[in-house]
Symmetry: C2
Subunit: 200 residues, 2 copies
Amino acid sequence: MDSSSLRARQKERRRARIYGVAIELFKQGGFQATTATDIAKASNVSRGTFFNYYPYKEAVLLDYGSEVMDRLREMAEMKLASGQAPLGVLYDVWDQLADENTRERDLFPPLAYEVMNPNPERARTAYQALPLSKVVELVLRPMHQNGQLRTDLSLQRISNLIADTYLMVALRWSAYGTERPLKEEMRLALNLLLEGAVKR
Amino acid sequence: MDSSSLRARQKERRRARIYGVAIELFKQGGFQATTATDIAKASNVSRGTFFNYYPYKEAVLLDYGSEVMDRLREMAEMKLASGQAPLGVLYDVWDQLADENTRERDLFPPLAYEVMNPNPERARTAYQALPLSKVVELVLRPMHQNGQLRTDLSLQRISNLIADTYLMVALRWSAYGTERPLKEEMRLALNLLLEGAVKR
C-alpha cells in the first residue's frame, strides 16, 4: 500500500473515531451542551483538528442523518424489489423514520434546523446530506409511471412536499410533544398528503 | 384624561414610532444588516428603550406578521359572510398571503425562522403572534360542519398542516427561488393538501 492511501485510511479512521465520540457525547449530554472542545478532548485531537474534519458541530449530525437516510433508501429498494406495493413501502419508511426519530429525539431538532439554516450554503449542505425527498421519489416512481399520481405536480415536487411535511411534523413533535406518538402523527400527515383533506 | 392613560398613550405612540422606523430600515437595508442600535438611533430613543419595547429584533417583525394575519382574517370573515364558498375563500387568502410575502420577500424568512426558533419560548411567542392556522380553521369550519372534510383528522390538525406547509413552501421559495411565482407554488401545495396526491 502506498503512503497516500495509508494516509487516507488513517484520516478516515480518525474521522470515524471523532464521529463516534461526538455522537456518544451528544446522546449523553445533549447536543447544545456538548462543545467542540468536549468532542476534541474526548477523542484525543486538538480543536483545530476537530474543525478540519467537521467545520461546525452540526456537520457531525449530518453524517448521522446521512446514515439514517442510507438505511431508509436500502430498505425501500429491498421492499420494492421484493414486490411490495409502493404505498405500503412508503408507510414502512415513515414508521422506520418515526422510530429512529423517537429513539434519538434530541438529535433530530438540530438536524431539522440545519436544513432550514438562514445561511444558504449550510442549508444546502444539510439538504444534500439528508435526501429524504429522494427516498420518497424512489418509492413513488412506480406509481407515477403507472399514472396513479396526480400529474399537475411533478413527482419531485410531490416528494418534496411529503419530505417537508415530515420535517415540520417531527419538529413540532420534538419541540412541544403531543398526546400521540410521533409515528401516529406522521401517518396522519402522510394520509392527508396522499389522500387529501376534502372528501370526494 | 388621567395621567396613567396619558402615559399609556405616550407609550403606545412611541412603540408605533419605533415599529414604523424599524420596518422602514428593514425594508431599506435588510433585516440582518439592521441593528437594534440603528433602530434606536433612527427613532431617537436609547438602545435600552428599544429593548423595553421589543426584547429582540425579531419581535418587531412579529408585530408586522401579526398585522398581516389580522388583515387576512378580516378578509376571510368578510368573504365568508358574503356567502363565498370556503374553498374559494381559502385560495383567496393564500393568494393574498403570497402577494404580501412576494412584495416583502426579505421580511418573511426571519419571521418563519422565528416560528421554528430552537428557544421554545420564542417559538411559542411567534406561533401565537402569527395565527395562520386559526385563519385556515375559520375558513374550513363550515366545510367541517357540513361533513365535507375527512373526519379521522381534527379540523385543527388539518389547519395546522396547511399552515405549516405554507411556511415550508414560502421558506424554500425565499431561500432558493424557483422558476414559478410563489403564488403558484402555494396554490399547488394547497391543491395537494386538499385533494391528495393519489388518484381515486
